[in-house]
């Protein structure tokens, strides 16, 4: 028989009761909202704010909202010649519903809507594997997404080939235009920015001067100025009878603008490269282009990826400026549709959630205020 070991338990330990309601809502609230007096005060203030703010918003967004309808009466009060009671205030979803096609595609003809939808679907199909690190054939994927797609999508959207009817760019609009503009600008600005950044650090005086001039001039001018130049001044400089499409002008303007900023971002990455990397490349016998392609750029661009993404996001937002030069991007088409007499809204200042309308809380607040002003009413225990 084996030797008795003192530290080996011989009997089962008695079961303990389950911990007291771990993870119930009350426990969570206690731990997270009312743990300390300070927490308690802040939580109460927060809850009061939510109770005050949320019901009117829900009222406005859903309960009082106008969901369907195709004419002016839908979202206008009786006094304004509509069907809503006077003083009505609610979201006019009918407007969004009726204008959905326009908000997304502009005035692109209904019969041809499959074309932008097709382009959007192909874009999504190409983008998904691009975003998955494990997906194969990244090179081909990038080629299709950034070079082939912009090119082919133009033919599909504009038409005039393969028997597709031409859809003039003046009929494009909405989210489609916003996306196309920013997508082209992004696809163009990255290679262009790299070239400009290399040009700025080049030892060739002409290349360097040209790059610096371009970058500094463009960076010294607001985007809206460039768009105005492109839309108002440029036609006057061209020979009479020759016009360049307005959409094309805007795309070129936006792309040039963002390229200058991109160049500076990339230059930041190039400057962060230690000198040893260049010397190491030189000692291996690599020429200028080889050094850049194999050693410097892969590291430099990786360093500035966050800044590049910032640029992409900001250009996506900045495209809304094209509405000022008369193009119907997402912002432009919605402003444009406000002028529709049939569906354009009665957009007076009352047309927003009314926070005074929350009766329960209003009553409560009034009582508190009355107490403050006049003291408690007789017989009221305080």
């Amino acid at each position: 028989m084996a030797k008795e070991l003192a530290y080996v338990r011989k009997e089962m330990q008695a079961q303990k009761p389950a911990p007291k309601k771990e993870g119930t809502a009350i426990q969570w609230v206690r731990a997270n909202l009312f743990a300390t007096p300070k927490d308690t005060i802040l939580s109460i203030i927060g809850i009061i704010f939510l109770v005050w703010a949320i019901p009117p918003i829900i009222d406005w967004l859903f309960i009082d909202a106008a969901w369907t309808g195709t004419d002016r009466a839908t979202c206008a009060t009786v006094a304004q010649g509509g069907m809503r009671p006077d003083g009505w205030s609610g979201a006019c979803w009918a407007f969004i519903g009726n204008k959905m096609d326009q908000i997304i595609f502009g005035r692109y003809p209904d019969a041809e809507l499959w074309r932008p939808i097709l382009v959007g679907a192909v874009f999504t199909l190409l983008l998904i594997p691009m975003l998955m690190p494990s997906a194969p054939h990244k090179g081909w994927n990038a080629f299709l997404l950034f070079l082939a797609l912009p090119f082919i999508s133009f033919f599909i959207l504009y038409g005039g080939v393969f028997g597709l009817p031409v859809v003039n760019t003046s009929d494009w609009g909405g989210l489609m235009v916003t996306l196309i503009l920013s997508y082209f600008a992004i696809a163009v600005s990255l290679p262009f920015g790299i070239v400009l950044a290399l040009g700025r650090r080049s030892k060739l005086p002409v290349v360097r001067t040209l790059s610096i001039t371009f970058i500094e001039v463009v960076r010294g001018v607001p985007l809206i100025t460039i768009l105005f130049m492109a839309s108002v001044m440029l036609p006057l400089f061209l020979p009479e009878g020759m016009t360049i499409n307005k959409f094309l002008r805007a795309i070129v303007g936006v792309s040039l603008f963002i390229s200058a900023y991109m160049a500076e971002t990339i230059r930041g990455g190039l400057q962060a490269m230690p000198k040893g990397q260049f010397e190491g490349a030189a000692s291996l016998g690599l020429g200028y282009w080889q050094t850049m392609r194999l050693i410097i750029l892969p590291q430099a661009i990786k360093l500035v990826i966050p800044a590049i993404v910032n640029q992409f996001i900001s250009i996506f937002k900045d495209t809304s400026l094209v509405s000022i030069v008369g193009m119907f991007d997402l912002l432009g088409i919605i402003k444009f549709n406000f002028t529709d007499l049939d569906m354009g809204l009665a957009r007076h200042s009352d047309h927003r959630p009314d926070f005074r309308r929350h009766r329960l809380l209003g009553l409560l607040l009034r009582h508190v205020a009355l107490f403050q002003l006049h003291g408690a009413p007789p017989g009221y225990r305080t």
């Binding site: 009060t77 304004q80 010649g81 005035r107 105005f228 499409n245 008369g326 444009f336 007499l341 569906m343």
Partner: protein, 374 residues
């Protein structure tokens, strides 16, 4: 090889999308393109605005559609280009649009130094005043001491100052930069009077909390004749654009509407109507314009006469409900007056035609048109 195709394709794209060669006349250009390119505003209630399907509608838009109907017999062969106030003139001068129908005020400098031509006025506008009914005011002359809401930096502001000082009245300007702010201020009663162009006042009134409580005063304190513009020097094109408007006015005067135009064309014995609708025998009025003989018939049938279009877009048939006022026909005390489409003198006409045929003039219509013998 691949590269060549690619660069050729890029070249084709740039050319196809961008450059369009100049042609001899705007009419030939429009006919060869197959569409009329018409510059309109980027959204103005009643003049050029979208409907639920995204189609353009409005008074200025219908002018373009009428021109298209006159040229092609189809009102929908128009490519509308939205232009802002700043880029409308460059767009016309550079040939980006064939005609500008964008609530543009006809002024001397625009008519001369900008190289544009104006002739017809499809809407007589002017600066007016809107006041709440309970102010008890029936004329702008009674507005002394009023607080006036106005948008800053506009000619509206200057006209306002001129009007009040020339009438020996004083006022408190309540000035905002944004139109929305002016609207809200007026809606909330921060001022007694709102002033801007009258057509705009009607649109703004619709957006107020209680439109029926406001009244638009009859006075107009500035002249804003709004009409189409085209490039100076193309007289044939100017004739077409102008006579489309005159045809719509004459149709209203004759009582021809889009509904009864067929009946009128068949049964009417009125020589004026027959001439207008091109049913007169051996009429050359259309050919003289460079159009078909039934051009005016098409305009009336497919778009309507001026009164119909006015009613539908801005008048009683629209939410705006603008009075005809200055835009009534001259027979009703307004300013809209269409010259008649009279037949040219018989002898001159026939003799001239014989001569033209005899000489085998290369461009008969153009030669005829150049001589003003009508």
């Amino acid at each position: 090889m691949k590269k060549t195709i690619l660069s050729a394709a890029i070249g084709a794209v740039v050319l196809g999308l961008g450059a369009q060669g100049a042609s001899a006349t705007t009419l030939e250009d429009v006919k060869s393109k197959g569409t009329l390119t018409c510059g309109v505003s980027t959204g103005l209630q009643g003049f050029s605005a979208p409907d639920n399907e995204g189609n353009w509608s409005g008074l200025d838009v219908d002018y373009c559609r009428a021109i298209s109907a006159a040229i092609f017999g189809d009102p929908d062969k128009v490519n509308f280009v939205a232009l802002t106030a700043t880029d409308r003139f460059p767009a016309l001068q550079s040939g980006e649009v064939d005609v500008l129908s964008r609530n543009t005020t006809w002024t001397l400098s625009r008519d001369t130094s900008l190289g544009l031509d104006f002739r017809t006025v499809n809407y007589y506008d002017g600066q007016g005043f809107m006041v709440p009914k309970d102010l008890g005011v029936s004329s702008a002359k009674e507005l002394s001491g009023a607080a006036v809401c106005v948008q800053s930096g506009t000619t509206t502001e200057l006209n306002l100052a001129d009007y009040f000082s020339s009438n020996g009245m004083d006022y408190n300007p309540v000035v905002y930069e944004q139109l929305e702010d002016v609207n809200n201020a007026f809606n909330q009663g921060r001022c007694d009077v709102y002033t801007t162009d009258q057509s705009g006042l009607y649109a703004i009134r619709l957006t107020l909390t209680d439109p029926d409580n406001y009244v638009i005063l009859p006075e107009i304190i500035s002249k804003e004749p709004l009409g189409p513009a085209w490039r100076q020097g193309d007289d044939q094109w100017g004739d077409i654009v102008s006579w489309v408007h005159y045809a719509m006015l004459n149709a209203e005067e004759f009582g021809i509407t889009s509904e009864n135009v067929d009946e009128m064309a068949e049964t009417s014995d009125n020589p004026g109507i027959k001439r207008l609708l091109g049913t007169e025998t051996d009429s050359k009025l259309g050919a003289d314009l460079g159009l078909d003989e039934n051009w005016a018939y098409n305009v009336i049938k497919l778009v309507g006469n001026y009164g119909e279009v006015f009613d539908k877009d801005v008048g009683a048939g629209s939410p705006l409900k603008i009075e005809r006022g200055l835009n009534a026909l001259w027979t009703n005390g307004g300013l809209q007056y269409g010259p008649r489409s009279a037949k040219s003198d018989w002898l001159l006409n026939n003799v001239y035609w014989r001569m033209a045929e005899f000489r085998h003039a290369p461009s008969k219509t153009r030669t005829l048109q150049g001589n003003n013998f009508r």
